[in-house]
Symmetry: C2
Subunit: 415 residues, 2 copies
């Protein structure tokens, strides 16, 4: 079980979480719980580091920010004991949760779960702070913001859990954002691949990295609401969304939808370079500096230029990286040889996602036709095996999502 910062914000809520956890044990499960810091606490600690030195040492930053989850894990163990349960905390360095790579953005390498499993078998509820681990040098590490989801999946894999329940402030994964489409439906099941595409294009339910890890380790993840009535039955019977493998889903013998969901992402920015020489190496000159700066370029279109031997190149980057991208490209202007650089943040990416499209042609055609019928102009297109994305003018985002939700038959039937 994993609980996020909103669920852990203050002792009253932590005692509520304790009741939800205890009910799982009472239902016959062995339980380990991974917790986030209290909502707002990590921001407070990060600000302290910035105030102490804007160029802070990531190793010491980890010492500071890991304390937020240390506090909530101790408090949840105390609150569980108050309910008569046996419980204790294991910090990242105590298990240990060994990590590799840089401080402040470490990756889980291995978890020694022997002590954990032995104690869980004796009836002890294990409480583990998310987000933190320990380096080979024995120093505290953190996994980067949102890393607690990944901690939960990694612990679930280490104890060979039947299920990893991620309690969050939504009650599952929807066919699209219910704030945009009132008829959005909660999905009972979604595959890892679909969840990865939905997450990476803007459905912010789970950290993308945690879904990748769950897929790799075969951990069955359930997303469900932490705001259920704490007298409700145990989570086995609460309809959250299960994230499972393609094979498991096929074995369920259900009628599959062609398309599972519609995602959108307004945090993209478009850059157009005009009159780039149409010769070998030109594209490398553009994207080399961006790749070195770890800026993630997504959609790329090369337009036919007006003049022979020249072409316009358009691509998207995360909006947060736009200013930096512009600086890097201006610095390489002579080498690239473009005429003008035109930024545009007034764009959004809308995607249709579904494993069903692997075996069905015509998905993209339906998308383009539906949008064209409603006057939505497509600026760029990208596709993967289970996803088709289009870049459109930002003002059309909600319209496009609604049109596609209906076009693929995802609207809930009125009760």
């Amino acid at each position: 079980m994993k609980f996020g910062g909103t669920s852990m914000a203050g002792t009253e809520r932590i005692r509520r979480v304790a009741r939800i956890v205890k009910r799982q044990q009472d239902a016959g499960h062995e339980v380990a719980v991974v917790v986030s810091a209290m909502a707002g606490e990590t921001d407070r600690l990060v600000n302290f580091c910035r105030e102490a030195n804007p160029l802070y040492d990531p190793a010491e930053y980890d010492v500071v920010v890991a304390s937020g989850e240390q506090v909530t894990s101790g408090l949840l163990a105390i609150a569980l004991q108050a309910l008569g349960a046996q419980a204790r905390s294991w910090l990242g360095w105590q298990l240990p949760i060994k990590t590799v790579e840089a401080h402040a953005k470490a990756r889980v390498d291995s978890i020694d779960a022997d002590a954990l499993i032995a104690e869980m078998q004796k009836g002890v509820i294990a409480v583990i702070p998310g987000f933190q681990g320990v380096s080979d040098e024995g120093r505290i590490t953190t996994l980067g913001r949102g890393g607690s989801d990944t901690s939960a999946v990694a612990v679930a894999a280490a104890v060979k859990a039947d299920r990893c329940d991620i309690y969050t402030d939504v009650d599952g994964v929807y066919t699209t954002d219910p704030r945009i489409v009132a008829k959005a439906r909660k999905l009972q099941h979604v595959t890892y691949e679909e969840m990865l595409e939905l997450a990476s294009v803007g459905a912010k339910v789970l950290q993308t990295r945690s879904v990748g890890l769950a897929m790799k380790e075969g951990v069955r993840v359930q997303v469900l609401s932490s705001f259920i009535d704490d007298d409700a039955p145990a989570a086995d019977t609460i309809p959250g969304t299960m994230i499972v493998s393609d094979e498991e889903l096929e074995g369920m013998d259900m009628e599959r939808q062609l398309i599972t969901g519609i995602a959108h992402d307004k945090n993209e920015a478009k850059i157009t370079l005009t009159r780039v020489p149409d010769k070998p190496g030109a594209v490398a000159n553009i994207f080399g500096p961006l790749a070195e700066a770890a800026i993630n370029v997504d959609m790329i279109i090369q337009n036919v230029g007006r003049d022979k031997g020249e072409t316009d190149v358009t691509f998207t980057v995360p909006a947060a990286d736009l200013a930096r991208s512009m600086d890097l490209l201006e610095a390489a202007k002579d080498q690239i040889g473009f005429n003008r650089i035109i930024p545009d943040t007034n764009v959004a990416k809308v995607s249709v996602v579904g494993v069903g499209m692997k075996s069905h042609a015509g998905v993209a055609a339906t998308m383009f036709r539906s949008l064209a019928d409603r006057g939505v102009n497509i600026q760029a297109i990208s596709t993967s095996e289970i996803k088709v994305s289009v870049l459109i003018e930002e003002d059309y985002t909600e319209l496009a999502v609604r049109v596609l939700h209906t076009a693929y038959g995802l609207d809930a039937v009125e009760a």
Copy 2:
């Protein structure tokens, strides 16, 4: 160097502490720094534990409250790096600082300082959270409130420090409380034994346990103000108060005062049991239950009773333990066989302290005569080798302190 919670309250103050520390290194010293949590933070964390469960598990309490010093040690390392110094934090479990006995009130058993010494010799400033250690089982422990002074002395002993500078919100140890006696003088030197008596009777400059440890390990401790100008010269030249051994002080060949200081303590309560049977075992029946409950009985007087075979017994306990003491004594009433129990919190203990009295008679007589001359009635007396304490009515406390400060020639000469 050790800095308390007031000095560490917020990043602006932590950056100030960094400048004070850096100046010591610039003056040619190898430096380790022990830090408290930000002022108020430990109270906040303790309250969380109480809210989660009033009968909290001390082992989990330690996980929660130790985080306060973890945060400030990381932040101070960052702030030192911002000044161009090499610095890193070592948490209690990382050195390790091994402790024994119960959680929430552990004692330092040993410190492995090899890594610390090696890094300090390379010019790295070591930052160590106070108050925390690690148990044999590898769990976080804390030393009890105020334990950071003890951590500092223990680290100083482990690295064989020339000096342990404790920065606090007073600029040294005074002959008495300057708020009561305007002519109180700052002491240049005081012995461990004197400091222990001054601390235990109410001069709240250092935690008593830290002074005992300094005496045992022969650590030279300096008390000085953390509110000095941070452009002032390094601490070698700032006149704080040095706490040293009797032998070192004698070697200084200074004119010793007979009396070093006057202490007072209003946190005492008096209990009188009337008509206790005057027979063997009676006193054991009274003080047995209090000792079992770890209540510290200080002064004891047995009055001659009015009736033959009976006696009144008066003694003092910490005011905070009065209610519990009354309950314990009432519960044992039949066994003890007293008539009435009379509590009195309107009392104060005033003490004169000085190693000089070992070799001088007449110290106590001067005390009693001076107080009697000004109409201060003495309710009880206790003495040690270097201290004479009297119990008086609380309203007379300030008068008594001033009278004694003058009587023993401690008043500062007007400039």
